[in-house]
Subunit: 307 residues, 2 copies
């Protein structure tokens, strides 16, 4: 049990959490940032090209810069997950996976989102044996292999482009008839001779033995419903991470995004939320929108604690 | 007369404008960015420490990175001011100070705000050498120094409170006899032992050599018209730049900030606004909030033009 009471505990170590921490530190608020994966999901991005100031940088490098910025400004870094938060009077008690308890006067929740699953039979069974949710992490296991990517937005097109650098061929399987997201990525995909897009199609089954060998489509492609692949990358979007919003009785929308006011406050006094897991920023989930929400949340916490 | 019709004309060359441009380019929207001062007001910041990813960078350097990012991604840069925008059917005609006319299908207005100045001799000379218009940006440069804040509303009281955390003493110099704005801030100021409020007083002069050393008051304080300070924070408010909102019949609040929806749209179809001149981001005017609003605006323009 750490006896220190922090001004603000920032739960989540992505762009929103680190930006909140930088602002909190600038306001002289003692702060601790919790998160098992420094940088959050952006750390797994192959390349980031749209965070103003960095024309092209790997997600890993950008995450390191964010981490270092927050740390050097005074954040205490706890590279661990938070499993529960309980209020006792004016103090929040933050319970980590390693059974430590930290205390703080306020909370900024910024635990982001996680990749959605296809929810088809045997999906979990093949994770790490052909099924992946992170092309940046796993593409190199598919050198000179055949892979498929499920999805049609930026996550899918960028994953396919990355995979095309190592695999012999890449299918994109998309339920709609036109790819969406950045047109630069869409054009690059359509020009790439290794990539074949299969439109208006769903993946409904997985088969193999130790490893994935074939996927089943809901409609024929080249006269076959079975498609031979060594890897399947599922890039169909995301949903809020974890059950802390539920545990904290936070108001969410129907799919679990935390309802936040313009100052990033939630329905619970003393708790703010920022980043991809909120309903703010026109629901545009980007590094720039997350850093903005984190900064606004820290400013709101500062105003709250000073009065 | 340039015959090209741009998808989007971005009026304003600060963080909001450049971020909008980067996103527009990623969506393959042809775009032109207008602005006489690349980087906008941030280019004049002595140091920027709160834009996540850069622990300490001059405003000038950061502005250059922003400019280069937008330019390398495809923005056409027009280093000139826009004096008028007129709609003709579906097309906007953008008139520049140099009498050129550019055409575009949509507009993102991001011309920012300007800090109100005291308008006293040598004010410009001491900017970055003691005179500042942004306590959030610059307070940490005044650790264990003596500073003064000019103003009496929220901007001034919050600046003084923030400065009191690092400076040895803080004067608030205000022309009226009672501080205004949120009473919670006023109370916090009056309780703070480091802060001394000098009422019914104006700052009329600045002196020093390389750096600010003293300010002149219009009336004696402790028997002296000269007051020794290391920093002077001028917090008498800011106001939106230029008269384009008025010319375009945009809806604003009572002091001229453009009313924007969550997608950065304005009351006029085809015109979006982003950055410090809008009512969004909880009115927290920062580089991170501006880049976020610019990205959201570009995304909204993309959705508008493709449908």
């Amino acid at each position: 049990m750490d006896e220190k009471i922090y001004d603000v505990a920032i739960v989540g170590s992505g762009p929103a959490g680190y930006s909140a921490s930088v602002y909190a530190s600038r306001y002289n608020l003692s702060n601790v940032v919790f998160g098992k994966l420094p940088g959050g999901t952006i750390s797994e991005a192959h390349k980031v090209c749209n965070y103003l100031g960095f024309e092209e940088i790997t997600g890993f490098e950008l995450s390191q810069k964010f981490f270092n910025h927050a740390k050097s400004f005074g954040a205490e870094m706890q590279i661990k997950s938070v499993v529960d938060i309980k209020r006792e009077g004016d103090i929040f008690k933050i319970h980590t996976e390693s059974k430590n308890i930290f205390e703080s006067r306020s909370i900024i929740l910024a635990t982001g989102t996680k990749r959605k699953k296809l929810a088809i039979p045997d999906e979990d069974k093949y994770i790490g044996k052909g099924v992946s949710y992170c092309a940046t992490c796993d593409s190199n296991f598919f050198k000179e292999k055949i892979v498929a990517v499920v999805g049609g937005s930026n996550a899918a097109t960028t994953a396919a482009l990355l995979l095309s650098e190592v695999a012999t061929s890449v299918y994109i399987i998309y339920r709609k008839e036109v790819l969406r997201g950045d047109q630069k990525w869409v054009e690059a995909v359509l020009k790439n001779k290794k990539i074949k897009v299969i439109y208006n199609t769903l993946v409904t089954g997985l088969s193999g033995n130790d490893k994935l060998k074939e996927i089943t489509l809901n409609t024929e492609f080249n006269g076959e419903k079975l498609l031979k692949v060594d890897g399947l990358f599922i890039e169909i979007g995301s949903e809020p991470n974890g059950d802390l919003p539920l545990r904290l009785d936070l108001e969410t929308d129907e799919v679990g995004y935390i309802r936040t006011e313009e100052d990033q406050s939630t329905n619970i006094e003393g708790i703010w939320a920022a980043g991809d897991m909120t309903t703010n920023s026109n629901r545009f989930q980007q590094v720039v929108t997350a850093t903005s929400e984190g900064a606004i949340a820290a400013n709101s916490v500062y105003e709250y604690l000073k009065t």
